[in-house]
């Protein structure tokens, strides 16, 4: 599951631009991953310039729970 560390975020929108499934919502200083839509592809993690997004392989994400 992908997590956002909100205290580190600059709300720049880079992750939103690379998300292939429109699963990230950005307001002025508020960012959310829409878990039902997210496919855990990690492209947002790879493109974040300041390491705000982290991919947690062992996390209890929805997609993992379903398996």
């Amino acid at each position: 599951m992908i997590e956002i560390l909100p205290d580190k975020c600059d709300f720049c929108g880079c992750c939103v631009g690379v998300c292939p499934v429109d699963a990230i919502e950005l307001k002025e200083a508020e960012i959310t991953i829409i878990e039902e839509t997210c496919t855990n592809c990690a492209k947002c993690v790879w493109s974040c310039p300041i390491e705000v997004l982290v991919f947690n392989r062992n996390g209890a994400g929805k997609k993992n729970d379903e398996k």
């Binding site: 600059d10 709300f11 720049c12 929108g13 880079c14 992750c15 939103v16 631009g17 690379v18 998300c19 292939p20 429109d22 919502e25 950005l26 307001k27 002025e28 492209k43 947002c44 790879w46 493109s47 974040c48 310039p49 300041i50 390491e51």
Partner: protein
């Protein structure tokens, strides 16, 4: 007082959105601009460099939004070789937070209404045609109808996606960027510095853009594949530690720069994309202020014409006008970018050594690119097209 219906709704009040709003309003149609942030122009997400000509097409130069006047570029190769290029046309480092305000004021003066803290979260449809927006304002969910929506909602654009336009960009083509405004350093206020190579910014460049003799925007962009291995922030921190350990940091911003040609489709029934949302950034330089204003102004003009003629299908004229004005040029810039994107440190050093052998009066941007691409004849033609013809 907000009406329940407008001819045109513009999403986003950056340079592209404000110019779209102004050019539409000047033709006499009703225009509403919805900006998600509290402030127009803030937070700034930009290196703030632009050419004088790029600005003056839309607004007279004004010291209140110009931090410094630039007349030299300095390119620094991985081995430290420095190539100084006097500019044929001067440039500016802007104060974007003031500049964007001034642009929005010209839109307002033309008759556009502007609302901040208005977060657009959906579109209204009539069949497959967009005919308005849903947005959150003051804690309430609202709807506004419009004949045309212009989405100038930035690199994070989602509005176009809701209308079925493919705005998502491959992470490898997104330059991951970070920048600080550093003070208590010493810089030449008339020179922009560009550093190349593995240490500074692979698949991109590192920049120092002066805001005065003691302050500068210092930042870099790297290709997404590079950022994946080592983040842009790590490169920046390493550079600062080595070169400016005592600097004070006045701001830090991050950002994605979509270094690609314009999207194939920037229009769908009832909706047009402009600026970063349409990927109208110059893919070689990453600059998007001037090109965004051009895109916005064409979108606004065509949208108003469509409304006035009562011809909804006329919105597609925007793609043609944009491609004729800059879209085709950006394709060429993109080919040149791809030609130098993966140069090794040795190649960058070689270019610098060859450029230093050019007599000073021949050291122009065009000639530097010619030197860089001397072994790629096809790209030399591209260089000629964009650097040696006006």
């Amino acid at each position: 007082m907000m009406k329940s219906e407008y001819d045109i709704v513009v999403v986003g009040a950056g340079p592209a959105g404000s110019m779209a709003a102004r050019f539409a309003a000047e033709k006499g149609v009703s225009v509403l601009v919805l900006e998600k942030d509290r402030d127009v122009g803030y937070p700034v997400r930009c290196g703030e460099a632009v050419s004088k000509a790029g600005i003056e097409e839309f607004i007279p130069s004004d010291p209140k939004f110009i931090a410094t006047v630039i007349n030299k570029f300095s390119f620094i190769a991985p081995d430290g070789s420095e190539v100084i290029v006097p500019l044929e046309e001067e440039g500016y480092i802007l104060e974007r937070r003031i500049f964007d305000y001034e642009l929005a004021k010209t839109a307002a003066a033309a008759g556009a209404e502007i609302l901040t803290r208005a977060y657009v979260n959906g579109l209204l449809f009539d069949g497959n045609k967009v005919n308005g927006v849903k947005f959150e304002y003051d804690g309430e969910q609202k709807e506004i109808k419009s004949k045309i929506v212009i989405a100038a909602d930035g690199v994070e654009s989602r509005v176009g996606r809701w209308a079925g336009l493919k705005t998502h960009i491959d992470f490898r083509d997104m330059e991951s960027a970070v920048q600080i405004t550093a003070s208590n350093i010493s810089v030449k206020p008339d020179t922009c510095y560009f550093y190349f190579g593995e240490e500074y910014a692979p698949q991109g460049y590192f920049w120092i853009f002066p805001k005065d003799s003691k302050t500068a925007n210092i930042g870099l962009g790297v290709g997404g594949d590079m950022n994946r291995k080592k983040s842009a922030l790590t490169y920046l921190n390493n550079f600062m530690k080595k070169n400016y350990p005592g600097a004070s940091v006045l701001t830090r911003i991050a950002g994605g720069v979509p270094c690609v040609p314009t999207l194939d489709k920037i229009v769908a029934p009832g909706i047009m994309l402009a600026g970063d949302a349409a990927r109208q950034v110059n893919p070689l330089s990453g600059g998007g202020i001037a090109s965004g204003m051009i895109g916005g102004s064409i979108a606004g003009t065509v949208a108003a014409e469509s409304v006035l003629m009562n011809k909804p299908e006329y919105v597609f004229e925007y793609e043609k006008r944009w491609n004729d004005r800059l879209g085709k040029r950006h394709l060429i810039f993109n080919r040149i970018k791809n030609g130098i994107y993966n140069f090794t440190d040795e190649q960058f050093n070689g270019i610098a050594h060859a450029a230093l052998k050019l007599p000073e009066e021949k050291r122009t941007l065009g000639n530097i690119f010619k030197t860089a691409l001397v072994n790629k004849p096809k790209l030399l033609i591209d260089v000629a097209k964009v650097f040696f013809t006006k």
